[in-house]
């Protein structure tokens, strides 16, 4: 039932606000609204019961194993939430001067410093509000860099075909043409193809390492040399940083610009789709172009740097200073982990992924890149299963829901047929992984024995399989009163 269907004309929630007399005094009639908006009219209990009930219709990390590849669905420590929501932080107005928020700014400044430490970059801006915005900022900095050198003919960004969709989309938003580089059979960038693609039009190469195929790009140094040799810059999509935290730094791999997804590696909550935060880090050469604001030191304290401090900035990405509450959560998380904890993240996320890969292989699943180590995630391909039984990756994903697991990412990476990208994260226990393997094994048997059972899944969720085609065809995007 929709909240609108619980609505009754004249019913009111508890929210009351005292209004001085003479209220709409100054607003001309012609500017006034004729009819009130069609918001629901419900009591506070109605609303609480409705949304509490809806919440129970979600899978989430707090309730289910959620091995959604590329998304790093690790446990979100509750302390991060509690401490970011202290009343003084919540009440801080973004326009309040720096002298009224030194405690708040100290956290953000230290976050910048910690991010520099784990990435090996010279300077960081916390401004981007998600990974994709970080990518935009990064590519815009690449452009600004070339422009600042009068090197304006570079109009191409190279992107491996395995890249996440945001990479090409971000490059295009910065006005670049995108050129795809193929992947070789081992999941590496095809270096020969890269060599013939680079040239004077190359502004840069965007790379995820480990890649979205769940493998570490072994030729990274060579790739860097090729791109740099052609005058291009190297962009690091940090969505997979979890796998190498404290083990390898993007800066040491030769990257010039990076973004980091705090909502992945640094465990800020995904919130049903966001918010995230996508800080960018750069080498010293690119630091002048960082998006604003950057937190700077001012005597013993901190302040927001602006255009007067950074005249070459690519500009601003949001009205204020980014997703501050997300930044605070990441700050708390990083402080709780410390240097040793960072490395443990890489160690145990990698251990979990390799264990799961080994066990699934043992259970009869086909691994997409069997000759490779898994990083913090790995790809299974169900092509053979589909060919034999008609059961697709989508069917397996849906059937997993019946077994109490959220599905892995399905059909991404796109270049592996019937792919499942599986990322267990370091916060899951061996028992949980074993239960997942057992569920996958059961599904494999079901697929062989009774494929319709799997194809008809899910059966145990509040609703059965939903018709996506119908949704796109008969668009129904808003409730309209009967």
């Amino acid at each position: 039932m929709l909240i609108f269907e619980r609505s009754r004309p004249g019913r009111r929630g508890a929210v009351r606000v005292p209004v001085r007399p003479g209220n709409v005094a100054e607003i001309p009639r012609s500017q006034l609204r004729a009819r009130p908006p069609g918001l629901p009219e419900v009591s506070e209990l109605d609303a609480v019961r409705h949304y509490t009930g809806l919440s129970q219709r979600n899978f989430s990390i707090d309730t289910h194993f959620y091995p959604l590849g590329s998304c790093t669905m690790k446990y979100n420590p509750r302390a991060c939430n509690a401490l970011a929501m202290l009343p003084q932080f919540l009440a801080r107005h973004p326009g309040a001067p720096a002298d009224t928020g030194q405690g708040f700014l100290a956290c953000l400044f230290e976050l910048q410093e910690m991010l520099k430490s784990v990435t090996g970059m010279a300077q960081v801006s916390l401004a981007p509000m998600a990974g994709a915005q970080g990518e935009f900022a990064g590519v815009a900095m690449i452009r600004a860099y070339h422009d600042s050198r009068g090197d304006a003919a570079r109009d191409e960004i190279l992107v491996p075909d395995a890249a996440h969709g945001t990479n090409p989309a971000s490059a295009v938003m910065c006005g670049y043409r995108v050129r795809e580089i193929p992947t070789d059979a081992d999941g590496n960038v095809d270096v020969a193809a890269l060599g013939s693609a680079v040239g004077p039009r190359t502004a840069g190469l965007m790379l995820t390492n480990p890649s979205t195929l769940g493998v570490f790009e072994r030729h990274i140094v060579g790739i860097g040399n090729i791109v740099h040799g052609a005058g291009g810059l190297l962009y690091y999509d940090g969505a997979n940083l979890n796998a190498i935290l404290g083990r390898v730094k993007p800066g040491d791999m030769g990257f010039d610009v990076i973004h980091i997804n705090l909502h992945k590696t640094f465990s800020t909550p995904h919130g049903g789709g966001g918010p995230g935060a996508g800080p960018v880090g750069v080498t010293a050469a690119l630091a002048p172009f960082l998006p604003l604001p950057v937190i700077g030191q001012a005597g013993a304290g901190f302040r927001l740097l602006d255009e007067r401090d950074a005249p070459l900035t690519i500009g601003r990405l949001g009205a204020h200073l980014g997703n501050a509450g997300v930044l605070l959560r990441a700050y708390v998380y990083m402080r709780m982990l410390g240097a040793a904890g960072m490395r443990r993240v890489a160690d145990y996320s990698t251990l979990n992924a390799n264990y799961l890969m080994a066990e699934l292989r043992r259970a009869g699943f086909q691994i997409a890149f069997p000759g490779r180590r898994a990083t913090h995630e790995f790809v299974v391909t169900l092509k053979l299963l589909r060919d034999k039984t008609g059961v697709t990756a989508m069917d397996v994903a849906k059937r997993l829901l019946d077994k109490g697991c959220h599905a892995p990412t399905a059909y991404f990476p796109q270049l592996v047929p019937e792919s499942l990208l599986i990322e267990p994260t370091e916060t899951e226990s061996k028992e949980t992984l074993d239960a997942f393997v057992a569920a996958m094994k059961e599904i494999l048997e079901e697929a062989r024995r009774d494929p319709q059972l799997v194809k008809g899944a899910p059966h145990a969720t509040p609703l059965g399989r939903l018709d996506e085609a119908r949704a796109a065809r008969d668009l129904d995007l808003t409730w309209r009163p009967g």
Partner: protein
């Protein structure tokens, strides 16, 4: 190990299952020369207890302030139920609802959110959020240019929030889109209709129409929307959602209505929180929906004919369309959307209108009190919603500094962004400001400006 469940036995058994001797071996594909050693500059770990103490101390140091700043972020009362429910693990720790059957909670919330925003703006469809109001404006500009096809020029009044204009410029300029500034009438503080003439030949793709504008002043929205349509441009409304409880919604501006509406959803239950996370909202006419950026949720049916919700029109998005997507946005501001939905459900139309009326009345009362101070006057004659520009007899920055000594945040200094206005200060009093608060501000400002109060006989500003 904090947040890592592995016992030594687990680790041993798992390594054996993989067939390696040590965790180090799992990293053997990484070129040796790249391996990092200790993380210089990373402080040692703190326990939850220690970080809690540190954060409490920092929060206490920052303290609380009596706030009269608005300027794009508004201090509203947020019903306690909003965040107690939004932070339930099932909402908080889920992700984008790719698996619809396991995400009906989030999906239905988003569908309800879309319905509420469409109704609030009187437009047909809504997406499920963008990053914030400023970036939503930038996306609306890109969308309008895509829809218009021939023009890459967009008119943006100087009365649009300065940061929003900066953000729009940052985001659209690499695609060769030009933003042209429309001046404002120095008398009313609203966009100068008579200045539009000079843009007639410019064939703009769109005209941005803020309501209320950055000065708090109401714009001639009907005329502006009409002018846009008459000149083959789309009308992009940039609106405050609280104001829409009272003001004519974008879908009803002029004879045709605005085509796209954007804004910052922060006033709808999202705490100020130092600047974010907020949410950008966007609604539009139905025929533009395929140009929209961001997630969209649609209703459909399950196998058994029961109503359910899914992400739809995904062919617009980067994960399908890649370089040809309508935007690069992926992670959006989901949880803020949940909060906004809860907020609107808890307030309802009457509650939201009450908030809007209280904001308006309080700001008028504040303006009345402050303009009783000699030398302080309203800068513009235009009707306002819940912010007002005051002209001070002295430079603004030192005044604000002096007020801070009394823990008052006195407003937003416009001297940098609008030097033409002189000593101009933008103030705001939402429903959270009481008569006492206003009196306290009045008394302190009077003292700071240091002139005797205007006598009752003299006409007010």
């Amino acid at each position: 190990m904090p947040f890592i469940p592995h016992t030594e036995d687990d680790t041993r058994a798992m390594l054996a299952a993989i067939g390696v001797a040590a965790i180090d071996d799992l990293f053997d594909e990484i070129p040796r020369g790249l391996r990092a050693d200790a993380l210089a500059g990373m402080p040692p770990a703190l326990s939850e207890m220690e970080i809690a103490r540190l954060m409490h101390e920092r929060a206490a140091r920052d303290g609380t302030w009596l706030n009269f700043i608005g300027a794009g972020a508004y201090e509203h009362h947020i019903p306690a139920a909003v965040w107690q429910i939004a932070t339930r693990g099932e909402f908080y720790s889920a992700y984008t609802p790719y698996q619809a059957e396991a995400s009906q909670g989030t999906l239905q919330v988003l569908y309800e959110y879309q319905s509420m925003m469409a109704s609030l703006t009187a437009l047909d469809v809504s997406n499920a959020s963008l990053y914030d109001g400023a970036s939503a404006l930038a996306e609306a500009v890109l969308m309008a240019v895509r829809a218009h096809k021939s023009s890459r020029r967009v008119l943006v009044p100087r009365t649009v929030h300065p940061s929003w204009r900066k953000v729009a410029r940052t985001i659209v300029r690499n695609q060769g889109i030009e933003l042209l500034e429309i001046p404002f009438d120095p008398g009313t503080g609203a966009t100068a209709l008579e200045a539009l003439g000079r843009f007639r030949g410019s064939e703009p793709a769109a005209v941005v129409i803020p309501q209320p504008n950055f000065f708090g002043v109401l714009e001639p929205v009907d005329e502006l929307a009409d002018w846009a349509h008459a000149n083959g441009a789309l009308a992009i409304a940039a609106v405050n959602p609280t104001a829409l409880a009272l003001l004519k919604p974008p879908g009803e501006w002029g004879p045709q209505g605005a085509d796209i509406a954007v804004g910052d959803g922060q006033p709808l239950g999202v705490p100020l929180a130092g600047g974010g996370p907020y949410l950008g909202f966007m609604t539009c006419r139905k025929d533009l929906v395929r140009q929209m950026p961001g997630r969209i949720v649609g209703a459909t049916r399950d196998r058994d004919g029961r109503r359910g919700y899914v992400l739809t029109l995904q062919a617009r998005e980067q994960h399908i369309r890649r370089a040809k997507a309508t935007s690069n946005i992926c992670t959006n501001q989901g949880l803020m959307t949940t909060a906004a939905t809860l907020y609107l459900a808890l307030l309802g139309p009457a509650g939201l209108a009450e908030v809007a009326r209280a904001c308006h009345a309080n700001t008028l009362a504040l303006a009345a009190r402050l303009t009783r101070i000699r030398g302080v006057a309203r800068a513009f004659s235009g009707a306002i919603f819940h912010e007002v520009v005051l002209r001070l007899p002295v430079p603004v920055a030192p005044v604000l500094r002096a007020l801070r000594e009394h823990r008052i945040l006195g407003g937003c200094d416009l001297e940098q962004d609008y030097p033409e206005l002189g000593h101009a200060l933008l103030v705001c009093a939402t429903e959270t400001r009481t008569g006492d608060d206003i009196a306290r501000y009045g008394a302190e400002l009077e003292r700071v400006i240091g002139l005797p109060p205007r006598s009752a006989a003299e006409p007010g500003g």
